[in-house]
């Protein structure tokens, strides 16, 4: 194929995305034209390193409920808090204040006492959130149930009381799973097991006993008697991202990608290469910020991406490397 003449779609050879389902808490998509390590790094980063806010420190003024303080504190940590505009908020560890302040901490207070004969339920919606915080949404408990109550924290009998003050901080799931933005991430490839990455256990016939994935229809089943291809590598990956509610599912992907780019940029600067890229990756940026190629306009970074020019950065070339998924002839791209 003549790559030079291929200027109708400059990004024909790079990563491609096809979204099959999306709503307020899910996004399912197919990622193709990438290799396993590329897709898997995306999966790992959205699960472990996209920052959110969660309750981290709880002060108990009164707790006469049947649950122990630490038990309640653990439950509080797991309540999803709104983290959509988290970029205004620094990590408490990096904040100038040294401890906690309005910039890096959101205070949530709750005071409940059961006075009636009925058992009283205490929900996340009973929190009052301090107004001194980076912006007016960050730290609000996420409430999605139709009654608008939010997650149940504990139940109180007549005379029992719960009075707490919680400090919510920004963090990542590598430190504690309560900071995960995702509740589940599906990651699948090769639904027909053509690559034999799986060794399916069976009684008599693996084909009959194992249910087919829903993505099996998306790829050609193996031909009868087809010889095993030793050189085949996976290149279509099926993601099913489920948000915990604190960040929108598409934002999780976007922030994960930014996070990875920052990591890579830090290596470039760490190796002593002159790079302004590091400053520019400071904090998550809005999607599409890079559409005009402005991100890479400093020396050494321009031309390759984001220009609609006739020459494709991904256009590949004559070398063997040109045939890889991100094929770059080694001259057209980063020079």
């Amino acid at each position: 194929m003549d790559y030079d003449a291929m200027d109708m779609d400059t990004e024909a050879l790079g990563p491609a995305v096809k979204i099959s389902e999306a709503d307020s808490t899910h996004v399912n998509f197919e990622l193709s034209n990438v290799d396993l390590s590329f897709a898997n790094s995306l999966r790992r980063i959205i699960q472990a390193e996209v920052p959110t806010v969660a309750i981290d420190l709880v002060e108990f003024m009164a707790n006469t409920s049947v649950l122990a303080d630490e038990f309640i504190a653990h439950r509080l940590g797991l309540i999803p808090l709104d983290s959509r505009n988290i970029k205004d908020m620094p990590m408490a560890r990096d904040c100038d204040c040294g401890g906690h302040c309005d910039k890096c901490t959101v205070i949530l207070t709750l005071h409940a006492k059961c006075l009636g004969d009925e058992i009283m339920n205490v929900h996340a919606s009973d929190f009052s959130v301090s107004s001194a915080r980076p912006n007016q949404t960050v730290g609000n408990p996420i409430i999605t149930d139709p009654e608008g109550l939010g997650p149940l924290i504990c139940k109180l009998r007549k005379g029992q009381e719960l009075h707490i003050e919680c400090m919510a901080k920004k963090g990542i799931a590598k430190e504690h799973a309560k900071w995960m933005p995702t509740s589940a991430v599906g990651f699948e490839y090769d639904p027909h097991n053509k690559l034999h990455h799986l060794d399916l256990w069976y009684e008599t016939d693996a084909e009959a006993e194992w249910p087919k994935s829903k993505y099996a229809d998306w790829e050609d089943p193996p031909q009868e008697g087809e010889p095993f291809d030793y050189d085949a590598v996976p290149n279509r990956f099926y993601f099913e991202v489920e948000s915990a509610g604190n960040i929108d599912p598409d934002a999780i992907i976007q922030l994960g990608i930014s996070e990875l780019q920052q990591k890579l940029a830090k290596l470039i600067t760490g190796l002593g290469e002159k790079s302004n890229i590091d400053d520019q990756y400071d904090g998550p940026q809005s999607p599409g910020a890079m559409d005009d190629g402005a991100m890479y306009q400093n020396d050494g970074y321009q031309t390759a991406y984001g220009n609609g020019g006739a020459q494709s950065a991904w256009g590949g070339g004559a070398t063997a490397y040109g045939t890889t998924p991100y094929g770059n002839s080694g001259q057209g791209g980063w020079s």
Binding site: P15, V17, F38, K174, Q254, I257, P287, Y296, W334
Partner: protein
């Protein structure tokens, strides 16, 4: 009780450098890179893509212990470029590839939103 703090998995210590290069004398054109506070997310990504990069003869990585967030990457090149240059090149390529993924994803997502909004309008009789 004496477990290390969890944030030590990703916060660099006071005198720690993110990445250090050590020339490996046992092989020609070979360097070892030590990445502190990193894990398979970055290590596997870099190692796999270095293997595909031009002028790189050999590349491998290890995480010596699952509790120790230190990545070891060894790169051998054919001498046309240094291992460090190869690594920087791959980092830049990957940043670009992820930038493209970001654009692709945004475009597809916006398109999808427009389609579903259109469908809703139809359902509502607009």
């Amino acid at each position: 009780m004496n477990a290390p703090d969890r944030f030590e998995l990703f916060m660099l210590g006071d005198n720690e450098k993110k990445i250090t290069e050590k020339i490996y004398a046992g092989m020609s054109n070979t360097s070892d890179f030590i990445l502190l506070k990193e894990d398979h997310t970055l290590a596997n990504l870099l190692a796999e893509h270095l293997k595909q990069a031009p002028h790189v003869l050999m590349c491998g990585y290890k995480l010596a212990h699952p509790n120790v967030p230190e990545v070891f990457i060894r790169i051998q090149t054919d001498g046309t470029i240094t291992p460090k240059e190869a690594l920087i090149e791959v980092c830049k390529q990957l940043i670009g590839a992820y930038a493209q993924l970001q654009r692709e994803f945004t475009r597809e997502y916006e398109l999808r939103k427009m389609v579903s909004a259109g469908n809703q309008d139809q359902a509502n009789g607009f």
